[in-house]
């Protein structure tokens, strides 16, 4: 018995020794990425390891739904990886934990990463008080998806360029007998994005006094909010989401004509939209409240950041540079369809031959970041959504709802005010 035990131990330790032998001289860096990107980025790793034979990259994939919890827990237990992906709205939060590395000096001496190669609005989301903390990895913004055949039936040729046009076109479509039971503009009540988007388009400062108080009852946001609510009130947008269980089917049936959504739906539409209607939809940059077409959209996407306490910063930075190379960015797009952050990639025929992409390119040059404070995520996902849903269903009066929203936001920002006052 004892002999057996010793044999087993010996075998196990031999396995461990032989394993560690292989990587003994290699520098191991850990990289965390989320969702599909996390799944596919490992396919790019062999190229990097070939170019850097002494490096081994360990990729860990985290699902988006648990990403935020996992990263914060990892921070609390000091097990954050050397480099990781962050949604660009999360950068301020991780900076407030002082866990991510300022990158200005690294970028200045980099031959690959240069600010000029990126969409300025997106780049800007990674800059906090003039310091750069992240490198855009892929970008994301919302544009208008619309049914070309329906607007033609309503007597229009182009996508709406202004808010007024969007409203008028929706009214005309609703008046057509064929579409009287449809809702021309689909504004999901369970998403915060449209409400923030239209507010930002209207030039609203969402927060005021150095982002320490909510400003949603301010005039510009209120106007934008009233504009959207008009669609619900006049039956131009559906308040009952159950009717749109399958987005693609509903869009195919003409249940709605306009929908503001992101790049992933280009691929989804190709796969899931009815085949005989494939030529009847198009993308366009967002309409604008005034005559300055195109209107602004939000700067979304994900960034690559360095762990401040990593022991292998140099190598991890090399990996970030590798992922930012135009050829790698293109390869990555072909793997997961995440829009490349590096502008020169867009000149490739993959993009120039795709008619849905030019709207995105135009829109990406016209983006604005949302307020860069750690609390932002909580404000939009827990509060905006809640009030939007209630007002759209007519359960709460609008001006009252916006005042309550400000109160709730002020409560969330109380700590921030205290901290700023302390400094």
């Amino acid at each position: 018995m004892k002999k057996n035990f010793i044999t087993v131990i010996t075998i196990i330790s031999l396995i461990f020794i032989s394993c560690s032998d292989k990587n003994e001289n290699k520098i191991v860096i850990n990289f965390w990425a989320m969702g599909v990107e996390g799944e596919y980025v490992s396919r790019l790793v062999p190229d990097f390891e070939k170019e850097n034979p002494n490096v081994k990259v360990v990729v860990q994939q985290i699902p988006w739904t648990a990403a935020h919890e996992k990263l914060i827990t990892a921070f609390a237990s000091e097990t954050l990886p050397d480099a990781f992906q962050l949604g660009n709205t999360w950068v301020p939060e991780f900076n407030s934990l002082s866990t991510i590395q300022p990158l200005d000096s690294l970028v200045n001496s980099s031959l690959i990463i240069n600010k000029e190669n990126y969409f300025s609005g997106i780049w800007d989301t990674n800059v906090l008080d003039t310091t750069l903390y992240g490198i855009p990895w892929y970008v994301d913004t919302r544009v208008l998806f619309y049914r070309t055949d329906i607007i033609k039936e309503a007597g229009f040729t182009n996508a709406p360029k202004t808010w007024d046009e969007l409203y008028e076109m929706s009214k005309v479509i609703k008046k057509l007998p064929k579409y009287s039971k449809t809702f021309p503009f689909f504004i999901p009540t369970n998403e915060w994005l449209p409400f923030i988007l239209f507010g930002v388009q209207n030039g609203a400062d969402l927060l005021k006094d150095n982002s320490t108080y909510g400003n949603f009852s301010g005039k510009k946001f209120t106007d934008a909010y009233l504009y959207l609510m008009k669609f619900y009130k006049e039956g131009l947008a559906p308040t009952d989401l159950q009717q749109v269980l399958n987005l693609y089917q509903a869009f195919g049936e003409g249940y709605f004509t306009f929908y503001i959504t992101g790049p992933w739906n280009v691929t989804e539409m190709k796969n899931r939209f009815p085949k005989d209607l494939q030529d009847d939809w198009m993308t366009a940059p967002l309409p604008s409240p005034d005559s300055t077409y195109p209107g602004k959209s939000l700067a979304g996407g994900a960034s690559l950041v360095l762990n401040k306490f990593s022991k292998n910063k140099k190598v991890a930075w090399k990996f970030i540079e590798f992922l930012s190379r135009p050829d790698v960015q293109l390869k990555f797009y072909n793997l997961v369809s995440s829009l490349p952050a590096v502008k020169s990639v867009w000149e490739d025929s993959t993009f120039t031959s795709n008619k849905y992409m030019s709207a995105f390119y135009t829109q990406l040059n016209n983006t604005v970041p949302t307020p860069k404070i750690p609390e932002w995520e909580q404000i939009v996902s827990s509060k905006i959504q809640q009030y939007a849903e209630q007002t759209a269903r007519g359960k709460k009066e609008i001006s009252k709802a916006l005042k309550e929203l400000d109160n709730d936001v002020n409560k969330i920002l109380e700590k921030r005010r205290w901290m700023l006052g302390k400094e």
């Binding site: 159950q242 269980l245 399958n246 750690p374 827990s382 700590k415 901290m419």
Partner: protein
């Protein structure tokens, strides 16, 4: 002298488990309790300077938080409807399986117990398919009697009943086993005597089974209530608290506040509120069932 030896023996036998319980239970509970009087959040995680003592503010905020009341309402809905239903179904199946006329008892016991040992996550995912509005099994079956289709998890009025149905199915097997044990402890002579006196089935059930099962029932209802108050995984996997917060439970809200927004102070306050509620619930159960006896 004698007392001293006794003490060291006590320490020797109880020490290890006391140590473990202190380290992994008492200390965390005390720490959480003290955190509920602070505003521990993501900033405090970065630096202790940003931690403030706020007294009872978390608790007073809770009382003014409409989401807390929504979560409380949903949890009570789940406990008050799901709890008795679950106990009832368990008792019913236990009586059936205890009947003399049933064959394959072992097989049925196994089948009914299987959901209990299946991981909740896997079960929830399968039930999500069953509840699917267009391709789901449940709507398919209902279509034969001309009812539906319903959007089980998407309709604010149906989501909670759907979750209750699943939870009852998942949990009744455990209580059923305990009930069977309880039923087997009732002496057969009592039923025989009652039969001779001409008692009907219902009378026997009311006057023999129920009173004889009282201790078992008390145990089961307390355990079930405590478990059901901690509703979390079902809404977390199936509905994420939606639609319109109709399945947001206290524990799920606590999880959101604590781990999604990292408002640890606030979420520990929530945890202690839940503790107090469960404590009161348990005391009431003890009282009520004592009176019955």
């Amino acid at each position: 002298m004698k007392a001293k030896t006794k003490f060291s023996a006590l320490l020797l036998f109880l020490g290890p488990s006391l140590g473990v319980i202190t380290l992994f239970f008492f200390i965390p509970v005390v720490a959480a309790f003290s955190l509920s009087f602070t505003d521990f959040d993501i900033y405090s995680l970065g630096s202790w300077e940003y931690l403030r003592y706020v007294g009872l503010k978390n608790y007073s905020d809770l009382i003014n938080d409409p989401l807390f009341w929504t979560a409380l309402k949903n949890t009570f809905y789940f406990v008050l409807l799901g709890g008795p239903l679950s106990v009832g179904v368990s008792l019913g199946t236990a009586m059936l399986l205890n009947s003399k006329y049933i064959k394959w008892k072992g097989l049925f016991r196994l089948v009914y117990f299987l959901p209990v040992v299946t991981t909740l996550v896997a079960v929830s995912i399968v039930w999500r398919y069953i509840y699917h509005p267009r391709f789901g099994l449940l709507n398919y079956v209902l279509s034969f009697i001309g009812v539906g289709p319903f959007d089980w998890l998407g309709d604010p009025n149906l989501a909670m009943p759907a979750i209750i149905l699943m939870a009852v199915w998942k949990n009744f097997g455990y209580n059923m086993i305990i009930f069977i044990a309880g039923l087997q402890n009732i002496p057969e002579e009592l039923y025989e005597a009652a039969s001779i006196e001409g008692a009907s089935g219902w009378q026997k059930f009311k006057s023999i089974t129920i009173p004889m099962l009282a201790p078992t029932t008390l145990f089961i209802s307390v355990i079930t209530m405590i478990g059901y108050f901690q509703l979390f995984a079902e809404p977390y996997i199936m509905t994420q608290g939606g639609p319109l917060n109709s399945t947001l439970s206290i524990v799920y809200y606590m999880y959101q506040e604590g781990f999604r927004w990292w408002n640890i102070g606030y979420s520990t306050a929530l945890a202690f509120m839940l503790f107090i509620i469960i404590l009161i619930g348990t005391l009431i159960q003890f009282k009520v069932q004592k009176i019955d006896e």
